[in-house]
Symmetry: C2
Subunit: 271 residues, 2 copies
């Protein structure tokens, strides 16, 4: 079973002030997923199913910023925070509908599972989450689609749960074979490769030691950026689940990775 994460920076125009889908990427990626799922020789890892997790991009981040969702707040502001919670949730769900529609158009039986409707957190970490239905959808041959979302937290009331945290949680439960992370950069670098010519690509990360010297690279956002991603994935590596971070802007990279072919990127695994 493979979990494919597609970053919000790939599927939306992330820096847009208005929510804006990158339809060119979305349709291309839907086609790459279709090719992998319905390949004549389907990869071993895909036979047991596929789960897609996507980021919130320019749909989630503007309202989250506007209402300062994810930051500590005073209970006298709870009502306004709740409106913010509702707004963020509705925006990311809209993006999710657009993504599911593209997947369905390409013949993929995508089914949305909004985290806010079945996950709660304790101090910003998922702690209550019934994944039986997710498992049932996979067993029946559906492709569940989850996403970074806001959830009810029993400590801080309102929490942002990133797609990366969701992956970390569900991968263990589902005993996923592999994680593919499609981002806007082909893996982890010693420095931000977009601003530093002397940035060196890291092919493999096996422990926290390998990344402790890293500056934040790309995608510094409320959900954690690259260092946050790698930390979540290292935790999975401990459970024997390996991941690879690849460039989803590169045509064919997602389809190759899903089919188990070699793609330039960073591997996160224990060995």
């Amino acid at each position: 079973m493979i979990i494919l994460k597609i970053g919000g920076s790939i599927l939306t125009e992330k820096d847009s002030a208005e929510p804006k889908v990158d339809y060119k990427n979305l349709n291309r990626i839907a086609e790459e997923i279709r090719q992998s799922l319905y390949a004549e020789e389907i990869s071993n890892d895909l036979i047991d199913g596929l789960v897609i997790v996507h980021g919130a991009g320019s749909f989630g981040h503007p309202p989250a910023k506007k209402y300062k969702i994810g930051e500590p707040f005073d209970m006298k502001d709870y009502f306004s925070k709740k409106i913010g919670f509702s707004e963020v949730q509705n925006e990311v769900k809209k993006l999710n509908s657009i993504i599911c529609e593209a997947l369905i158009d390409y013949g993929i039986p995508a089914i949305a599972m909004p985290p806010s409707s079945f996950i709660t957190s304790h101090n910003k970490r998922i702690y209550d989450c019934n994944l039986e239905l997710l498992k049932t959808y996979i067993e029946e041959g559906f492709v569940p689609v989850l996403f970074g979302d806001v959830v009810i937290d029993d400590e801080v009331k309102i929490a942002v749960i990133s797609g990366d945290q969701i992956i970390q949680y569900i991968a263990k439960f589902l005993k996923s074979d592999r994680i593919v992370l499609g981002t806007d950069v082909d893996g982890v670098y010693t420095k931000n490769p977009k601003t530093h010519d002397d940035a060196v690509h890291i092919d493999k990360v096996s422990s926290i030691e390998d990344i402790k010297f890293l500056e934040s690279t790309t995608n510094v956002d409320v959900t954690g950026g690259m260092v946050g991603k790698v930390k979540e994935l290292l935790d999975l590596a401990e459970y024997g689940i390996s991941s690879e971070i690849i460039d989803a802007n590169e045509i064919g990279a997602i389809s190759k990775a899903l089919q188990g072919e070699e793609v330039r990127g960073t591997k996160i695994s224990k060995d």
Copy 2:
């Protein structure tokens, strides 16, 4: 606690071949809900919270009909049914986003809970459904919004769960005080009042005996029509939860009903 059902025929142009929202009704009803929730003297039943359930209207019915979702099928057609399932789910979710957006615009902290992400059924009746999160949202002062949806069924694989069935199920669990059903007619008649001049309005239904002579009245659709609604509500009446069917096209009817004022309609209750 009140559960408000708003029919798909109110919020969408139900007979439209294309999905089409009735924005005039939607915005008016959002405003009526706002007035009731934030009234100076909030009604006793509303103090403990509000849950909204809406129908699928012209968003759900066309794809459900196209793929014959809800009808028995041969397993060789399962893949095509799954695509149909995904399409129906995505369409009703789109309608739900539009409805939530209007509610949020009117200052109501609406939160979507798509039944397909936490409910499964056994032979077309809900049997597995974790409602703890729904309860938590209500306790925190959110207004959960559910809707008629498709769900995974352990017997017939794919089932349509109507908003009316959802109400029946959650009302018991939440120990709801009252149900308000906003439909396109002001209650139950002896005949379809839109086609029969001699149709007589029924003010009150206390048992199945009171409706056994009824022809199907309005809204004959895959989810059951008026007789189906009344049967679900009679079951609740047995548990001491009373309901009223009112005309949501009538300006002010929903706001009056939420505030516990008298509205022309049909009451379903044990006494």
